[in-house]
């Protein structure tokens, strides 16, 4: 924590901080109370609006939505891992006739909005792909390009001495890659990969726009039938936040552990976040 920004508080500063805390707390509580009061005033916390969540059918529907979300995310992650490996291999190639086209493809898919890819696939073949196929195809191409960059950064993060030593022992390029660089890079990349999973999980919600029945769409169905948008939004947000926070925590824990156990380089989860699309 950047406690260097302020002195160890003396009595006067402590008093000021306490007053500041009190005022801050009052302002925050006041704002919250204002919002809550307006919501209560409009009956958003009435029993009738929350009642659907006492019904097991509602939770079954939410469960189904969650399963659909995870189904799309899981398939997209697996496919984009494969795409990412292929693209990264192409980008790291020594031959420019392989490298240049691959760089173009990667940069193209990183620059185009994911929703546009999804619309494209959806409009290109609505009958064969459907909303699920279009969603997965879009996610795969976009995240494949992002993962390719992560893989490349991971490979390049391994100290040069490692590949130099391997080459001087007479290993070929594929052997250096497969036996020396990749095993070390995987450990460095693991936190970044998990962070990317969070991004994919969030991005599946774009399926909402092409009417794929994932979690956000389920929430909408609930509030369309019970007119309880506030409770529905609170529940759906809570599900997403708890799911993604646990994954982010796992990524952070892996990163710290890798840092502690070795002097190996680690790609920080934050490196990925910044490239995050949605």
């Amino acid at each position: 924590m950047s406690s260097v920004l302020y002195d160890l508080p003396g009595p006067a500063a402590r008093r000021r901080a306490q007053i500041g805390s009190a005022v801050g707390a009052v302002v925050v509580a006041g704002l919250l109370a204002l919002v809550l009061w307006r919501l209560i005033d409009r009956g958003h916390f009435s029993e009738q609006r929350w009642e659907p969540f006492a019904d097991p059918d509602t939770w079954n529907a939410i469960g189904e939505g969650l399963v659909n979300t995870i189904k799309a995310a899981a398939l997209a992650i697996v496919l984009s891992l494969v795409t990412g490996v292929l693209l990264a291999a192409g980008r790291l190639s020594d031959r420019s006739y392989v490298r240049v086209p691959v760089v173009t493809v990667v940069e193209f898919f990183r620059a185009v909005p994911l929703l546009m890819l999804i619309f494209f696939f959806f409009l290109a073949s609505p009958s064969t792909l459907g909303s699920y196929g279009a969603l997965v195809a879009g996610l795969t191409l976009y995240n494949g390009a992002v993962l390719a960059e992560i893989f490349r950064a991971g490979i390049l993060s391994v100290p040069r001495g490692q590949s130099e030593a391997a080459y001087s022992l007479g290993l070929r390029k594929t052997q250096v890659m497969g036996q020396i660089l990749v095993p070390q890079a995987v450990r460095a990349m693991l936190p970044a990969l998990i962070s990317q999973c969070v991004v994919v999980l969030k991005d599946t919600s774009l399926g909402f726009i092409v009417v794929y029945p994932e979690l956000v769409r389920t929430g909408r169905q609930i509030y369309d039938s019970y007119f309880n948008i506030i409770p529905a939004v609170i529940v759906v947000t809570a599900i997403y936040v708890s799911m993604n926070m646990s994954l982010s925590w796992l990524a952070g824990w892996l990163e710290r552990r890798t840092r502690q156990r070795s002097d190996q380089p680690v790609l920080s989860a934050a490196d990925v976040d910044q490239g995050a699309a949605v």
Binding site: L5, A17, F208
Partner: protein, 215 residues
């Protein structure tokens, strides 16, 4: 190809809306992000808590859900704007969380001696932050800020699902009307995005060259 050229006016109009959303979202995200980042490093615990909660909740919520909250739940509070303004609010509020995190990590890269010197001169926390720390922190986070704003530019496309016809929405409309020209339309509009992304990154490369502090 002809259909793409015939509709170039419509497509450019779409990109105009994209740029409006991008500009509005950028201003909102930078302002809110700076305020929240100051709160996150402040000596007042409730403010720190508010900053941290905002970042953790918003970063882990899908943008689509934030759009739903803004577009459908804010009217329940009696707040009603145009779809365009709602879209700016949604992308701005979402991006603000990422700006906050970037600035906070920037604050941590400023050398301790800078803050100590400022305090030794008798500056208060607010003065230290606004005159000494933040200007240096902002410079050190120019590269990540570029990625964040590029993500913001692409994220404006989500507005297409919420009543705003910007570039991506134009693809959907034209793609429905002229399915035979879908490929041309897709690559035409994609090219527009590629150009915008390249422009933003060129601007940030210039900024970096001019402003970055070398340590």
């Amino acid at each position: 190809m002809e259909i793409l050229l015939d509709n170039i006016g419509k497509i450019l109009e779409g990109f105009q809306v994209t740029l409006i959303l991008f500009a509005g979202g950028t201003v909102l995200a930078l302002v809110v992000g700076t305020v929240l980042a100051s709160m996150r490093v402040s000596p007042v615990p409730p403010l720190r808590l508010v900053g941290a909660t905002y970042v953790n909740v918003v970063r882990n919520t899908p943008l689509v859900l934030i759009f739903i909250i803004v577009v459908f739940a804010l009217p329940e509070l009696g707040i009603q704007f145009s779809f365009r303004l709602f879209a700016i609010l949604a992308v701005g509020a979402y991006t603000a969380a990422f700006v906050t995190e970037a600035l906070r990590s920037g604050v941590n890269t400023v050398q301790a001696g800078q803050a100590e010197a400022a305090r030794a001169l008798g500056m208060t926390f607010g003065q230290t932050l606004s005159h000494v720390i933040m200007p240096q922190a902002a410079r050190s986070v120019i590269p990540p800020m570029g990625s964040i704003l590029i993500a913001l530019l692409k994220n404006t496309s989500v507005a297409a699902g919420f009543g705003v016809i910007e570039a991506t929405g134009t693809l959907r409309e034209l793609g429905r009307d002229f399915p035979q020209a879908l490929y041309w339309l897709f690559f035409g509009i994609a090219l527009g995005y590629v150009v915008l992304v390249l422009l933003v990154s060129a601007v940030f490369r210039q900024l970096e060259r001019r402003l970055v502090v070398v340590r």
